[in-house]
Symmetry: C2
Subunit: 392 residues, 2 copies
């Protein structure tokens, strides 16, 4: 196991009707002037935003509002948010929404403490300061409610880039599984896929003898395999929603990823798809993961055989572990299809003729040097082949 530090100081308030605690929690964590950041119509239609506002009013907290966060959140709104926070003296941001809203809130939180362009931090500048962020989560997917990460798309060139820093971990996150019951099945499934991708990205390691994190990651994958179909069959199943929601948080706050190298190539490859086609990140991952895995599995056949056997219940072929490894990838693909995810490139709106553009953005875009690094180092030629495998 490699040396590591782990620090997850987020206060989680989990369960039914917990959104009514938002005001009290903001006060507890020192907020007095709040930006409520949110997306589109669903949080308004459901009455969630009103309930959250009431909770702040009950604590006599002042707030300003900024809605309009899109999936694959954009830098334009971030700049707007930073300006608003600076002008209004905001000292706490409450994100009411999913990963996109939370990531946008984190970007605003960094930018509000910085005189330069917030994008610098998405180009690799280390984060030192950010105003505190709290969240009311509305979809189990990105894990941003417990993670130190944020992903933003810059409109100019449609570049999707990530940053990370412990100061970006939310002060608190309110996780009410009931809020996710109204999600359309496609979004629910995309969330499930995103969570599973976070687990696979950590599972694909080059570090040896990391049984505890292997087992924890397998446990969360098994949970998703059990609960995913249950929630797709019955969107009102609170218990299934609750299990998925906690799995999504634990899977991405890195409890299960410490002390080991991780992959993240699939995420990086997918980011170009959702940046260019504005598809759901989870849907993009459903197409990306099997292609990447089939391209790289020979790098460590036994690792792929292990997840196949332990998670997917594939019989280990001791004479030919490669067949077990491949059976596990097929099982993943079949599962993702069964919950309603796309498995083909064109289902994302992607076009074969765009592959050169995708590869160019991926390997030679701003901040890149011709390759991406993870479980395996992938050069432009590798990435071209992987996008082509998706398009076949």
């Amino acid at each position: 196991m490699e040396n590591f530090t782990f620090y997850s100081p987020t206060y989680f308030d989990f369960g039914k009707e917990t959104e009514s605690h938002a005001g009290k929690l903001i006060k507890r964590f020192g907020g007095s002037k709040v930006l409520i950041h949110y997306g589109g119509g669903s949080v308004i239609r459901s009455g969630l935003l009103d309930r959250v506002k009431k909770s702040l009013e009950d604590e006599s907290l002042a707030y300003v509002m900024l809605g309009g966060v899109q999936p694959n959140p954009r830098s334009g709104l971030v700049y707007e948010g930073i300006e608003l926070c600076k002008k209004e003296g905001v000292d706490f941001i409450l994100a009411v929404g999913g990963g996109s809203v939370i990531d946008s809130a984190k970007a605003i939180a960094i930018g509000t403490c910085y005189d330069g362009d917030f994008w610098d931090f998405y180009m690799g500048k280390p984060i030192e300061e950010a105003i505190p962020v709290g969240t009311v989560l509305t979809i189990a997917a990105a894990g941003s409610e417990g993670s130190p990460d944020s992903v933003i798309t810059k409109e100019e060139g449609m570049l999707k880039r990530a940053t990370s820093g412990n100061v970006l971990r939310p002060k608190f996150s309110i996780l009410n599984p009931a809020l996710t019951q109204t999600l359309p099945p496609y979004q629910t499934a995309a969330g499930i896929t995103d969570i599973m991708a976070h687990l696979y990205e950590r599972y694909l390691t080059n570090t040896k003898e990391v049984e505890v994190t292997d087992r924890l990651l397998e446990a969360l994958l098994l949970t998703m395999i059990h609960e995913g179909p249950r929630v797709i069959a019955d969107p009102d199943n609170y218990e299934a929603r609750a299990n998925i929601m906690w799995a999504g948080m634990v899977g991405h706050n890195n409890t299960c990823g410490v002390g080991r190298s991780q992959d993240w190539n699939s995420h990086t490859i997918e980011h170009e798809l959702s940046a260019l086609y504005d598809c759901a990140h989870g849907a993009g991952l459903a197409v990306t993961l099997p292609a990447v895995f089939r391209y790289v599995y020979k790098h460590d056949v036994m690792r792929f055989a292990k997840v196949a056997s332990r998670v997917w219940g594939c019989q280990m072929d001791f004479d030919n572990p490669e067949s077990t490894a491949l059976a596990g990838i097929t099982a993943l693909e079949t599962f993702l299809k069964s919950i309603g995810m796309p498995v083909r490139f064109d289902e994302l709106g992607a076009k074969k003729e765009d592959i050169p553009t995708l590869v160019k953005n991926l390997c030679y875009g701003e901040g890149r040097d011709g390759k991406i690094q993870g479980f395996v180092t992938l050069y432009a030629e590798d990435c071209r082949k992987i996008y082509e495998m998706m398009a076949e």
Copy 2:
């Protein structure tokens, strides 16, 4: 899943030579005058205490020392520590040792902020304040390095009682698996048993459909089954030590126990054994767990069959799940014996004729009302039978 809150703000610094960071971490978390709290000779002989002191000196931190913590830590030393901290104006306690040292440090931390008797909090008074505690862990066992708990034995009547509160979670914990390589095999095995008991106490729940925490607990049990024998066979196996150490922390900071009822009757029953006979808590648990499980398994046969099948690899007997449930308990007992733990009452130094005293302390001692409550409510008569099962 039941509503819950989860807050684990401990900073974990994990890996080789991390004890040299103690001084920097104390500064980071606001300490200026430190009590270094420790146990007996091993931390002195190994040079660990000197390295830690040097780390504090490098940061120009003032400190006082208090050693002599015994296994099953006593209230006498806690009173001494409180007096010392008050007199010296200590604002940070660094525990260098295992669970006993950390629990003693936590008790001193509460008492230093309180004018009354610290024991009040072990009798149920809610904890509001404590001075910050940091730890340098020397054995993977109690999980106190990440937990909000502390267990202290009061000499008068040899009462062993627990308290809990988020302010008792350490500010930081330094986890260097190499420090555990010099432990005698018996202590290593007792630690493994304690960790497994923490997982079982959470596994035995009456809450339905808690797949995510079930799976996480199973993952950690599977880790212990894999790593336990490896570390007993080769005490210098750093990787096995590392996996066990992280499993011990994750297993007890409650990531895997949220939103579900838990048991803890085995711990409560064992506490009377280690209080009366001063045996290792883990050794006491090795004798206690199988007896308690055989007494209560009929309360939920399928739960015991589940852990038997998923963790111990017992074939599920679909015609007779009870036989699978029992096979899992036998597998646990066989495993504990294989790593060198006692399985009989008399191996702990316990005597059959003491059973009435044990039951009296357990069910009618200070703060008790004739029963203990967990997975199943156990009355004095039940507890008598369980102790007798151990003695058979």
